[in-house]
């Protein structure tokens, strides 16, 4: 083993165990399956998929460093890299941060080799090196050597001469000479000093990329000046490119226009009283609980239907939003939140609907802070993204709430990171969302860079290069972060934009923590939240205008009872209930009695029950149940109530299930005919009665259907042609005949019997069709349509392909396509058919 490793594998072999462990931690994909040896590890670390994954996870400065290495000579001394990053003049911050970036790249095994021979892993280099189809984020073009590869030696020598260089023997030395000139700051400066102003303007335009431009066959003078000196080199077709060395000279050696060595600062900060923030968050947490509870209540008797493709229909979402008194977007969030927490789900029946789960029952019984722990925990680790609801996926299908394709795997990581950033601020401090988003973008510039990165999978990292058209939509990661901030506010994780005290406990864990650890963290947060949540009350204030005001959240049994007894008029910190006759009746329907209600109100009101309310309850109760409704299959009436008593007393009548409604009326639970039979069997002589009270004469009715129309016959052959059709057919025949000039004789046309379908073998049919296409003649065919109805048509075939014939149909006067297999036979039109 030599001092300088020759391959990545060799270098990895020299790393310490902790170094290797660091690599495996940073790139966990290398672990599955566990590599057999270091060579295998190095090979796998060099595979495209793995490298893409690693590059995507670089922060902006490390990525910029990798990009600079990709445009630097391979291997590249540290000083050269420093020059590319900091420019000729040097940049203190860049110089200070660069070792960190290189170390990070090394730790990830993206860069290896000693400092004087830094090498970017070949796959990474391929990914990041600019090419014509794949511009680099640096905006640099190919090197002189690469760009001049296809040029004629003669042209190269001309360029050398124009640039004031001595002629060389071969193209290789010529390229080297030109490269040397471009890299020499002093000579290059002298050369450019002589450039016309317009040429300099062109160079300025190409300077920061994209380095490509187009020229005409006769380039204008200032372009020709550049072309003649190799400052623009041909790049295929009429395209020209600014070679990398020249661009670097113009950029004073910098590979990036703005190196970003430091993460953007989170600013401007707004400081608030932490107590205020915590209270605001707690109140929002309480609202969140109330909203989810309301959703569950709304769906108590079953939720909306599940769409065939999964999810809820837009209409149902709208309805839910109205019920929750919120927007559709927010309704989708609450729905997904409840769904993610396992509180609602599809019932899995044949006629699939959404409904609350048994877990929801348990959840409702929990104390408030534990309920919050359930939904907050579910939210933290959820990959489903309600923010996407209402948008369309890559295939243009609308994404439905609770539907498929809403999962975005980076979501938990982004969520955790965004909250962690807020947690890095002092308590009570908030920053505008844009600052958080900027910071997140710096940390993972490539991850989910393209709007549809999820669909695109491991996209080539260069696809979001500044050279490519800017995506209109913000990238997925930014959107996820924005949603995280919005949702955190809704859930009471943040208050007024600042992370609440209790929410800091949520972030004690690493994103990679086990579920148990995460649950523990959420419980800790909930415990901190508990004292901030309003204490449920056990009383309301009753008022003479028939309202009850609960000046805060109510204990569950009280709230449930009031929900039945009164209508909710307004919600918020307090709840205003209004008693109406309908609401009181609802309570009576639910089995409460007036006395119970009075007592209930008396017990839970801080103030005496107002008289109008007491009257309202009594008034409604007085009328409640005055009318009684029941189901009876038949009735039995008789003017002689003694006879009815006798029947009731008879034990044989028990099977008829009779009940006395009035002295002269019995209701039976058996059908009238059975009742008749039963009473006859008991020796009575009952008579059936019609709806109007007439005695029905017993007579078995014949059974008939409702009025029905007879089925229409399906004709075997074509319908008899009417005159118009006939005229058209004749016209068609004549026209076709005219086209089929007299030269063609029927080769084998045993003219079928008039009216019968022509019959030919399929080979003959095909041959005849093809011939007819060539001669543009009309044919007479027999055709059976999809319903099996046969017809005869005169057609002029235009094209025969793929088992179909496209033809002008003289019979129907249009161009149609016929499947060949449906054509029973074909015959040329007889010459004398005119």
């Amino acid at each position: 083993m030599t001092d300088t490793p020759r391959t990545l594998a060799e270098e990895l072999r020299t790393r310490t165990d902790s170094g290797l462990a660091g690599l495996l931690r940073a790139r966990p994909d290398l672990l599955s399956p566990v590599p057999g040896d270091v060579t295998q590890l190095a090979t796998r670390a060099g595979t495209r998929a793995s490298v893409v994954r690693a590059v995507e996870r670089l922060d902006r400065f490390a990525l910029q460093t990798a990009e600079a290495l990709a445009v630097a000579p391979d291997p590249c001394p540290y000083e050269t890299l420093g020059g590319l990053m900091g420019g000729d003049a040097g940049d203190g911050t860049v110089a200070a941060e660069l070792p960190r970036a290189v170390a990070a790249l090394r730790a990830q095994a993206l860069v290896w080799g000693p400092d004087d021979r830094l090498r970017l892993v070949r796959t990474a280099r391929e990914l990041l090196t600019p090419s014509a189809t794949h511009p680099s984020p640096t905006g640099l073009g190919p090197t002189v050597a690469e760009a001049a590869a296809g040029m004629s030696p003669g042209r190269l020598q001309e360029i050398l001469a124009t640039a004031g260089l001595p002629a060389t023997h071969d193209p290789v030395t010529a390229v080297a000479a030109l490269t040397g000139l471009f890299c020499d700051r002093a000579r290059m400066a002298a050369l450019l000093d002589a450039a016309p102003a317009e040429s300099v303007a062109v160079l300025d335009k190409l300077l920061w990329g994209p380095p490509y431009g187009g020229v005409t066959d006769r380039p204008a003078g200032h372009l020709q000046w550049l072309l003649d000196r190799g400052l623009l080199l041909p790049a295929g077709g009429r395209n020209v490119v600014l070679p990398r060395e020249a661009a670097l000279h113009l950029r004073a050696g910098r590979a990036h226009r703005t190196p970003e060595p430091l993460p953007p600062v989170l600013s401007p900060v707004t400081e608030r009283d932490p107590q205020l923030v915590d209270n605001a968050a707690a109140s929002q947490a309480f609202t969140a609980l109330a909203t989810v509870e309301e959703l569950l209540k709304e769906w108590d008797l079953g939720g909306p239907a599940v769409l065939r493709a999964g999810g809820m229909s837009v209409r149902d979402l709208k309805r839910t939003a109205t019920a929750l008194d919120t927007t559709e977007q927010l309704a989708a969030f609450w729905l997904e939140l409840a769904y993610g927490a396992g509180l609602i789900a599809s019932d899995g029946e044949a006629d699939e609907r959404y409904a609350a789960t048994p877990a929801a029952e348990d959840w409702l019984q929990l104390p408030d802070h534990e309920r919050w722990a359930v939904i907050a925990g579910a939210w933290l680790s959820a990959t489903r993204t309600p923010g996407l609801v209402g948008t369309a996926d890559a295939k243009g299908r609308a994404l439905a709430a609770l539907g498929p394709n809403l999962d975005r795997s980076p979501a938990p990581e982004v969520r955790h990171r965004a909250l962690a950033l807020l947690a890095s601020l002092p308590p009570g401090t908030s920053v505008p969302p844009a600052a958080v988003l900027a910071r997140l973008r710096w940390e993972r510039p490539l991850r989910g860079a393209a709007a549809g990165a999820h669909e695109a999978g491991p996209a080539a990292p260069g696809s979001a290069a500044p050279g490519s058209p800017a995506p209109v939509e913000p990238d997925l990661r930014s959107r996820l972060a924005q949603w995280t901030l919005d949702e955190a506010e809704l859930l009471g994780v943040t208050g007024r934009g600042a992370l609440a005290g209790h929410a800091r406990a949520l972030l004690d864990t690493e994103p990679s923590a086990t579920p148990a650890e995460r649950t523990a963290a959420v419980s800790r947060a909930a415990a901190l939240l508990a004292p901030l949540l309003p204490e449920p009350l056990d009383h309301v204030l009753l008022q003479a205008d028939l309202t009850a005001v609960a000046p805060g959240p109510l204990r569950r049994p009280l709230a449930e009872a009031l929900d039945v007894l009164a209508d909710v008029e307004s919600k918020g910190g307090a709840t205003v209930y209004r008693f109406t006759p309908a609401s009181v009746r609802r309570a009576l329907d639910a089995g409460r009695s007036a006395a119970e209600l009075q007592e209930f109100l008396g017990a839970h009101s801080r103030t005496p029950v107002p008289q109008p309310l007491a009257y309202l309850i009594d008034d409604v109760a007085r009328r409640h149940g005055q009318l009684r409704i029941g189901a009876a299959a038949a009735y039995l009436r008789c003017d002689d109530d003694a006879l009815l008593s006798e029947i009731l007393a008879d034990r044989r009548s028990a099977a008829l299930r009779l009940r006395r409604l009035a002295p002269t009326v019995l209701a039976a639970q058996t059908a009238p005919d059975q009742l008749l039979d039963g009473l006859r069997a008991m020796g009575y002589a009952p008579a059936a009665e019609s709806a109007t009270g007439d005695v029905l004469i017993a007579r078995t009715d014949s059974y008939r259907t409702a009025p029905r129309t007879a089925p229409t016959p399906v004709p075997e052959g074509p319908p008899a042609p009417d005159d118009t059709l006939l005229a058209a057919a004749v016209r068609a025949i004549r026209a076709g005949d005219l086209a089929a000039t007299a030269e063609r004789k029927p080769v084998h046309a045993p003219a079928p019997a008039p009216g019968a379908l022509p019959r030919t073998t399929s080979a003959e049919t095909l041959a005849t069709m093809q011939a007819a296409v060539l001669t543009s003649s009309a044919l007479w065919i027999g055709y059976v349509n999809a319903d099996g109805a046969a017809s005869q048509r005169v057609i002029a075939p235009v094209r025969v392909e793929g088992g179909f014939v496209t033809a002008y149909d003289h019979t129907s006067d249009e161009v149609r396509t016929y499947p060949l297999h449906r054509i029973t036979g074909v015959a040329e039109l007889a010459d004398d058919a005119v």
Binding site: P534, D545, P612
Partner: protein, 550 residues
């Protein structure tokens, strides 16, 4: 975190009145929140854009509003609500109407995009003239009212700083001999005068006429007073002669019967809105003099055409007087833009507590109908049902019993149906005032009632508005215009005038049990219950039984 105020998500504010900070809180939120309901324990206020703009017009800023909410709120106020309030309030005053020395009336803005936005509106375009500079545009002087209405509808209410014409001067003084404006009346006059134009909200019986007189004494200019009807016009005249330096000759009445135009002219809405051959022949009244002040009585009843005329009177000071800003037709925004923002407001209970209006005991008497009456009621046609149950004989006898019970007290029996009233009048041997009673006869009866010569008066709904019966201590309502809440308030107002002996007023509603009469009564009473006048319910049987023992 234990304030008296709870902020609801529908922008209502609940105020716990028994809380020690309740008074301070009420004062803090009154400028921007409209009192909606004031029952015993929890008062409900509503925050509306109009209310917030009213507050802006009165010189309050969003900071104060937000502070008031945050300071008194029991629970954290939703951030979105605070943002919304600040945003809404910031809309007022970005546009203002001012008088330009060269161009006349101009609309100027402090926020150019807003001006650009509203100038693009098709509704604004015909109202404005040339653009003077990027921030101001000429407004046709005749469209001053129109543009204010339109801008309010667009959500950018304009502040009217264009000032007023002084009008033709006319000496008017209050003659405070043995009486003085009450403090709240004084405040109302000052609030109005300071704001230029606007509405003063005072409960019935709180002396709105005197606020009008006070405003006239401030303006010292010819005044046009618009009132609901002739009786009301006479009362205004009577009151003005009594309370001010004006003589009867200086006050003209412009009504269906008389067409006098004097330095102070009192006109009825009815005569103004009379249309003949498609035109309003009495419109010239507005231009007949150079009025310095226009007073609108009962603004909540202002008929739609009057709004239209008012739009053209924007250069004159306008004072609206009303008991409630709630209009059943929902034209509150027209009141805001054309007459002006609310300048003063005091709830009933507060003025009652100060002893300026009498406390009232409201009793609903539930009458059990007889079997045969119930049967007839059950079979009546739907449209006849209310009339039938409201006029049943059982109710009549209970009413008569009530009148007997309060023998010797000044009693008003108020009803809707003339035959019922005639019958009652006959049984009670009391005069009946109805639509066909002449104004002269009405005034004669009112005077007799006032002087105590007669103690029972039966009145139809003609007496709903603006009659002044200071000594009525008992009102018995036997039937009403279905469920009209306004009518209920007006009728209660009849007995709220302070009594000489401090006697508590009584307001009875006689209602037939288990009929739609009861439903309508419930609807009407809701308004009163919301104003803090709780109803007691008494069974007629108990009442009559108690009477017999008596």
């Amino acid at each position: 975190m234990n304030g008296p105020l709870i902020v609801q998500s529908d922008k209502t504010l609940l105020l716990e009145v028994d809380h020690e900070l309740a008074d301070a809180c009420r004062r803090a939120i009154a400028p921007f929140a409209e009192l909606e309901r004031a029952p015993e324990h929890i008062h409900t206020y509503r925050v509306t854009p109009l209310g917030l703009w009213n507050a802006r017009a009165a010189g309050h800023d969003a900071e104060q509003v937000v502070d008031a909410l945050v300071q008194f709120s029991r629970y954290p106020v939703p951030h979105a609500l605070l943002v919304d309030i600040a945003e809404t309030m910031s809309r007022y005053g970005r546009l203002s109407l001012t008088k330009h020395p060269a161009h006349g009336l101009v609309l100027t803005t402090t926020d150019r995009p807003v001006l650009e936005e509203i100038l693009r509106s098709k509704k604004v375009q015909p109202l404005v003239g040339a653009r003077i500079d990027p921030d101001s545009v000429v407004v046709h002087p005749s469209e001053r009212g129109q543009i204010k209405q339109t801008l309010l509808k667009l959500g950018w209410p304009a502040e009217d700083l264009a000032g007023y014409v002084d009008g033709e001067a006319h000496p008017i003084e209050l003659r405070e001999d043995g009486w003085a404006l009450r403090p709240y009346q004084q405040q109302a006059v000052e609030g109005f005068w300071h704001g230029g134009s606007g509405v003063v909200v005072l409960p019935c019986g709180a002396g709105k006429t005197l606020v009008g007189a006070g405003a006239m004494a401030q303006a010292k200019a010819t005044t046009l007073i618009l009132v609901t009807n002739t009786v009301s016009a006479r009362q205004w005249k009577h009151e003005l002669v009594k309370r001010t330096s004006l003589t009867a000759d200086e006050i003209g009445e412009y009504s269906g019967t008389r067409k006098e135009i004097r330095p102070v002219t009192i006109a009825t809405y009815q005569v103004l809105t009379t249309k003949r051959k498609g035109v309003y022949p009495h419109l010239e009244l507005f231009d007949s003099r150079d009025w310095g002040l226009i007073v609108y009585d009962e603004v909540h009843l202002l008929p739609a055409p009057v709004f239209k005329f008012t739009a053209d009177l924007q250069a004159r000071r306008r004072l609206g007087l009303t008991a409630t800003l709630v209009r059943e037709d929902g034209r509150e925004s027209d009141v805001f833009s054309l007459i002006g923002p609310k300048r003063f407001d005091a709830p009933w209970k507060e003025i009652e507590a100060q002893g300026y209006i009498a406390p009232a005991d409201c009793v609903e008497v539930r009458v059990n109908l007889t079997e045969s009456e119930r049967l007839t009621y059950a079979m009546a046609e739907t449209e006849e049902k209310y009339r039938y149950c409201a006029t049943t004989a059982s109710k009549q006898s209970v009413t008569e019993a009530l009148v007997r019970r309060h023998q010797g007290e000044q009693t008003l029996v108020i009803g809707q149906y003339i035959d019922q009233l005639d019958e009652l009048g006959e049984h009670l041997d009391a005069p009946v005032i109805k639509g066909e009673t002449t104004n002269a006869q009405r005034e004669k009866l009112f005077d007799a009632f006032r002087e105590g010569k007669i103690s029972v008066l039966v009145v139809s709904k003609v007496a709903n508005f603006s009659i002044d019966l200071p000594e009525a201590t008992v009102a018995i309502q036997v039937s009403g215009t279905f469920g009209s809440r306004q009518e209920e308030a007006q009728r209660l107002g009849r007995v709220l005038r302070p009594k000489a002996d401090g006697h508590e007023a009584r307001f009875y509603s006689v209602v037939a049990r288990d009929t739609i009469d009861q439903d309508f009564a419930a609807h009407r009473q809701r308004f009163l219950a919301e104003q803090g006048y709780a109803y007691r319910i008494v069974d007629s049987d108990e009442l009559l039984a108690a009477d017999e023992e008596w």
